[in-house]
């Protein structure tokens, strides 16, 4: 019990392409989360921010930036950067501070905006930079996700229709989510009619980038009880493990995997939740809902197997049977996932926890998973970052 912290409040700024300063999204999300928690800003003792690297100095010191924007009140601050897993790293920092007894209540926050115009790679010959090398020889971003998708088709017999079904399911889930950017129910035909990007993935199989913000108020269990919120959902585990040599699959922006001639290959994605399950003392059979990082439709199926929600190769079968739809046995991405949100890097891992918080409280409206007791997230960012968070009633 002593390893748990309480989630008192969750808040988001709707995802979109708003083109405003990222600080506005963050402060909005923080104020929603504080109100939701019934905690005054002055009572927050620690602000743990996920960094954004596309918005200059304020983004690098996001924890302090948000604390100042909310009004300096002396709280200690921290900023974490871990690509797409930045939010979970910030959450882990806040949890550690609380469990160590160094503070009682913390704000965890991440927000991002996409600057206008295209992000151009730096000019010049940079043969030591893997990102430069792979573009030079024609390896694009969707290449990696398409390779994983094609591999599923070859190994397990998944089809492009299965991948389209993930989009159809998630678009139906996100349709009534007020924080989602894309709120339109797409059909399998809509997906099939969209342009091929990287065979077998079409435009509607891959996610976009968005503006957005998400925030959580977390506290010690004692503090939660003290303010009459002893039944608040608990964070039971956070895994932010790095990969173990040798890498099994080739990850962006690399041109090759490690060699497994001497040391056996290991799957990073499959290793991520193992530590979370162990820490929580909870097994995959106990999970009632999952939020996974569907950078592509096919990747959602990989995650289901990595989280051990089904046997390897069985994910599409569950999908086809409607088991991963809200109302099914193990709903995946009831929020609508990245398919409906698009990626707002430092906010995304926190948005997953926000959704699970509402699900466990029974406040998710039309997308509510009935009787949800245990939720798990999975997420992966560049350069060996990833996260898996377990939250329970």
């Amino acid at each position: 019990m002593s390893n748990e912290v309480a989630v008192l409040g969750a808040g988001m700024h709707p995802w979109g392409k708003w083109g405003r300063n990222f600080v506005e999204y963050g402060v909005h999300a923080a104020r929603v989360a504080l109100k939701d928690a019934g905690v005054k800003w002055r009572d927050v003792q620690f602000v743990s921010g996920g960094a954004t690297i596309r918005n200059g100095y304020p983004g690098f010191v996001a924890g302090a930036t948000f604390a100042q924007a909310l009004g300096w009140q002396g709280a200690e601050v921290n900023t974490s950067y871990a690509a797409c897993a930045s939010g979970s790293q910030a959450l882990a920092a806040a949890r550690a501070k609380i469990l160590a007894g160094h503070c009682d209540v913390a704000l965890v926050i991440g927000a991002d905006t996409t600057p206008k115009g295209f992000l151009k790679p730096q000019p010049g010959e940079r043969p030591d930079d893997p990102d430069w090398v792979r573009f030079r020889v024609g390896i694009t971003n969707p290449t990696y996700f398409a390779l994983y998708a094609r591999r599923r088709m070859a190994l397990y017999g998944d089809t492009q229709e299965d991948f389209a079904l993930v989009k159809v399911k998630n678009s139906a889930h996100g349709f009534e989510n007020p924080n989602a950017r894309y709120r339109k129910k797409f059909s399998a035909q809509d997906v099939a009619d969209s342009a091929m990007v990287a065979d077998p993935l079409r435009l509607m199989d891959v996610c976009a980038t968005s503006d957005g913000g998400a925030a959580l108020i977390i506290s010690s269990v004692e503090y939660a009880k003290k303010i009459g919120k002893g039944d608040a959902p608990r964070i039971a585990a956070i895994s932010t493990v790095t990969p173990t040599y040798a890498s099994e699959t080739v990850e962006m922006p690399d041109i090759a995997t490690d060699s497994s001639a001497v040391v056996a290959a290991q799957s990073f994605r499959a290793n991520l939740p193992k530590k979370a399950y162990e820490e929580a003392g909870i097994g995959p059979e106990d999970v009632s809902v999952a939020e996974v990082y569907d950078l592509s439709t096919a990747l959602e199926l990989d995650w289901m197997e990595d989280l051990q929600l089904c046997e390897r190769g069985e994910a599409a079968k569950l999908l086809r049977a409607g088991e991963t739809t809200v109302g099914g046995r193990i709903p995946v991405n009831p929020s609508g996932g990245l398919a409906c949100f698009g990626e707002a890097v430092p906010a995304q891992a926190l948005a997953q926890v926000c959704e699970l918080t509402w699900q466990l409280r029974g406040q998710a409206g039309a997308r509510q998973v009935q009787g949800a007791k245990v939720g798990i997230t999975a997420n992966q960012g560049l350069f060996g970052h990833g996260s898996s968070v377990i939250i329970k009633k």
């Binding site: 090398v133 573009f135 030079r136 024609g138 390896i139 001639a261 001497v262």
Partner: protein
């Protein structure tokens, strides 16, 4: 072959039987591609303290692990044709080194002609700016 390679020291310029150039750790025997470079070199096997490496030619054949294509024009520094012509991309698992290496597929071969598990070999082909790179081709 008097071609200019797109990257120095990444592959041999043998037009008939080209090889990717990797490093092999003298202590544990593991392979690296691209080569370990720098004034000081360190093995990345967590149980190995090796700091000396041999330059080795990697297997020039392997099995197709997966494949895709680039339907849209990649950004610079890729040099695209005008208009862009889609090309296939392969991930090939090298026989001896047990590592998966990406590369584009030779001109004229599309995804319809590829199948996971098929034998692939390494060849050299010019990029659109005339510089030579490694590519994969069904063996």
């Amino acid at each position: 072959m008097s071609a200019t390679p797109v990257l120095e020291g990444w592959f041999t310029l043998d037009g008939e039987q080209p090889h990717l150039l990797g490093s092999q750790c003298q202590s544990c025997g593991t392979y690296y591609f691209p080569q370990i470079r720098g004034e000081a070199k360190f093995c990345r096997n967590p149980d190995c303290e090796g700091e000396s490496f041999d330059e080795v030619k990697l297997s020039r054949t392997g099995k197709l692990w997966s494949y895709t294509n680039a339907m849209y024009q990649p950004p610079e520094p890729f040099v695209a044709k005008d208009p862009h012509e889609p090309y296939a991309i392969a991930a090939v698992e090298l026989d001896a080194e047990k590592m998966i290496v990406l590369g584009s597929v030779v001109d004229g071969i599309s995804v319809e002609q590829l199948e996971v598990g098929m034998a692939m070999e390494l060849v050299l082909e010019a990029l659109n700016d005339g510089k030579v790179t490694w590519k994969w081709k069904p063996a």
